[in-house]
């Protein structure tokens, strides 16, 4: 929308004060539970402070030096791998399933409901279920693969760096793809049928129709689900904490696990604050980029 129109509308609705007042309850709440804790947490990064012992001591940037020389970069890598893989995988599966269900199979409503199951289970339960499936010594996955002669002996999925990351990605993907499916299916159902028919009459193949009719129509929806999933996965904690605790040898330690463990298991609030501060720094790069993009798009 253009600036002129928006100014015009602003005049019509007038009283910006009323508008601002309406936001006050939300802003107060957010200031109390988000902004203050955020700033206080960042301030902590400059102190040596223990969860257990009383008092704290200013140490400047020592915590940052420690964290950066420690496991920060690997944690960044794990966070990115986890976020990108789970988001893309659940998107692909969700989209494929949505397209398939949109063809008009019988019992679609029932299927949609059934597939929602993994999403509604608490993520802790999901983690336990997959922990059980991936169990090295009596897990069903090893049992199945051995029965199919794909592996000769049980694989310790959660015991090796590579497969452990794979396992948590699979578990989280299983947890999120139904949501993607439901959202995209809803989007697909708003694609006007006649647009498709016209395109078909004009001789456009399925792929062509998908690219020139379905995708453009779905773009805002796709953008939204991808963005939300990214945000959530970036700070996802439950699955990794329950399934691997960040191991083996730190191979699945993401930022969220690292901050939690440092603060609440290692009792080192200063170092946890420093990881959080660096995390914010990296995020703000993304946020600034995103804001810039959307500002540009909306003119």
């Amino acid at each position: 929308m253009t600036a002129a129109v928006s100014r015009g509308r602003g005049d019509r609705l007038s009283n910006g004060m009323v508008g601002f007042l309406l936001t006050v309850p939300a802003l107060v709440l957010l200031a109390a539970v988000v902004c203050y804790p955020l700033v206080a947490g960042l301030v902590t990064s400059l102190f040596k402070q223990s969860l257990v012992l009383p008092g704290r001591r200013f140490v400047g940037l020592d915590n940052f030096a420690d964290v950066l020389s420690g496991d920060f970069l690997p944690a960044l890598g794990h966070t990115l791998v986890f976020t990108i893989c789970t988001t893309l995988l659940s998107f692909l599966l969700g989209f494929a399933l949505a397209l398939a269900l949109n063809v008009g199979l019988r019992g679609r409503a029932v299927l949609r409901g059934l597939f929602l199951f993994p999403w509604v289970l608490p993520s802790v339960v999901v983690s336990f279920l997959w922990l059980w499936i991936f169990n090295a010594n009596y897990g069903v996955l090893n049992g199945l693969l051995m029965r199919m002669h794909l592996i000769g002996e049980p694989v310790a999925w959660l015991g090796q760096p590579g497969t452990a990351m794979l396992a948590v990605i699979v578990a989280k993907t299983w947890n999120s793809f139904p949501w993607m499916m439901v959202m995209l299916l809803a989007g697909l159902q708003t694609v006007p049928r006649d647009l498709h028919e016209v395109a078909a009459l004009d001789g456009a193949g399925a792929l062509r129709r998908f690219r020139s009719v379905t995708l453009p129509h779905l773009r805002p929806m796709i953008g939204m689900v991808l963005l939300l999933e990214m945000i959530w996965n970036f700070q996802h904690f439950d699955t990794i904490y329950v399934m691997t605790g960040g191991g083996p040898a730190g191979a699945t330690t993401t930022f969220a696990v690292s901050v939690y463990d440092t603060a609440f298991k290692g009792f080192d609030l200063g170092a946890a604050g420093a990881i959080g501060a660096l995390w914010m720094l990296i995020l703000s790069v993304f946020v600034v980029g995103y804001v810039w993009l959307s500002e540009r798009r909306s003119g």
Binding site: V52, R57, G266
Partner: protein, 431 residues
């Protein structure tokens, strides 16, 4: 606002620069709880809370519930029970203790006593412990810096436990006494096939601290006078050897004690390490309950003939937290740990060795072949984990475990990993 609260309004970070130097010397292990330790006092409150992990576990849940119910009946007190799983226990208990939300009795692993003590919320139980007849060794388990913060509840060790049936099948005549014999035995157990894990050593971070006795075995002191010596020849040799077993699949990856017990119960494990209490879980997971008769405890093999074998001391205590009902709580703690009928009865049902001289001499205790063998062969070789003395205990062992795991999974070499471990551990030890 309390000094631990980070505050937005606090301007002048510079001012703090000066003040910070004055305020806290707070990271040394002895500085916590500077307000002086309170003893318990009978405030007339009869009801109290009992927090523990044993309230939650298959092997101990029922017997412990019975003890609590019996105590309630005889004393007229109401005991509220709260449980957390062992792996999250310290974390959860600390969050509650620190927030001042927990009073009464709490179960505490000997390893965590220094950490809990640092909160300054524990009571001095010296007067309560007097005259109860605890053995000196077990009393030591409940002390930090000479003060009796815990009443010893069970005191023993974590040691090697073998499956005699598998030993016989593999033609193993005698339990090995040296590391080389031990390795040869593992190889012969491996040949039994059938997915048998010869040695279900801990390979998950949670319990990888089990590597420390092996480091002792290979001649590393691990920590000496506040200096971490991990990274020396003995420790690197121990990790190299562990990795060799790992690579030859004589030990299995991603194993923790739950898995080891369950697998042992299924007859799939030759040897694993555990405290006597683990027998309950082994039998619970077993189809063939007679496995209880085939558990063979033995001393850890030594590097060269004539060396002294070692084991990890392990034990649990009951602590009493300051606050309402501490007097009643302390009475309960003493009754659970020192009343002969209670502790001997608990032993019979769980295998947790008692801590008083009289209970240890109880026929019910001495009649248990497995536990008395365990005591004679393993417990006598026990040494206390040197890191127990530090409130940062959990972090220190985590730092070690992570690096051992890095070496096992090939992310690092044993030498490099142990050098990294030393750097991280020393920093934590120094606070």
């Amino acid at each position: 606002m309390s000094p631990t609260l980070p505050s937005l309004s606090r301007r002048g970070v510079l001012g703090l620069l000066g003040a910070g130097a004055l305020t806290v010397a707070g990271c040394a292990p002895s500085a916590g709880g500077s307000g002086g330790t309170k003893g318990v006092s009978d405030d007339g409150v009869k009801d109290f809370t009992f927090t523990g992990w044993s309230l939650n576990e298959a092997a101990t849940k029922k017997p412990l519930a019975d003890i609590v119910a019996g105590y309630e009946k005889s004393s007229g007190a109401h005991v509220r029970t709260v449980s957390y799983p062992y792996n999250d226990y310290l974390n959860q208990l600390l969050l509650q203790v620190r927030g001042g939300n927990v009073t009464g009795v709490a179960q505490c692993d000997g390893a965590w006593l220094a950490t809990l003590k640092a909160t300054g919320k524990l009571t001095d139980l010296g007067a309560i412990a007097k005259g109860a007849g605890y053995t000196d060794a077990s009393l030591a388990l409940g002390q930090v810096d000479g003060t009796q913060y815990g009443l010893p509840w069970t005191s023993g060790a974590i040691g090697m436990v073998g499956n005699q049936t598998l030993f016989d099948r593999a033609g193993i005549k005698a339990v090995p006494s040296t590391v080389d014999d031990f390795e040869a035995m593992l190889v012969s157990l491996k040949t039994l096939g059938n997915g048998i894990v010869p040695y279900a050593a801990m390979t998950k971070v949670d319990q990888l601290k089990d590597i420390i006795p092996w480091m002792w075995t290979f001649g590393s002191p691990v920590v000496d006078n506040g200096k971490v010596t991990v990274g020396d020849d003995g420790s690197v040799e121990a990790v190299t050897w562990y990795k060799k077993l790992y690579d030859r699949k004589l030990i299995a990856p991603a194993l923790d004690r739950f898995d080891a017990r369950a697998l042992f119960g299924q007859g799939k494990v030759g040897v694993y390490e555990d405290a006597p209490v683990g027998r309950g879980a082994v039998v619970a997971a077993a189809k063939d309950k007679s496995i209880a008769d085939h558990l063979t405890p033995f001393a850890r093999p030594v590097q060269a003939k004539g060396d002294k074998p070692v084991a990890f001391a392990w034990g649990g205590v009951l602590v009493v937290l300051q606050g309402k009902g501490s007097g009643a709580a302390a009475k309960f703690a003493r009754s659970v740990t020192a009343d002969q009928a209670t502790s001997a009865g608990y032993f019979v049902r769980t295998g947790n060795p008692p801590t008083t001289t009289r209970a240890l001499a109880d026929p019910k205790v001495t009649a248990d072949r497995f536990v008395s063998d365990f005591g004679k062969r393993v417990t006598v070789t026990a040494r206390t984990d040197p890191f127990w003395a530090y409130p940062q205990y959990a972090q220190i062992e985590q730092a070690l475990a992570t690096q051992v795991q890095a070496a096992l999974t090939g992310k690092s070499t044993p030498k490099q990993a142990m050098a990294d471990a030393r750097a991280a551990m020393q920093k934590l030890v120094d606070g």
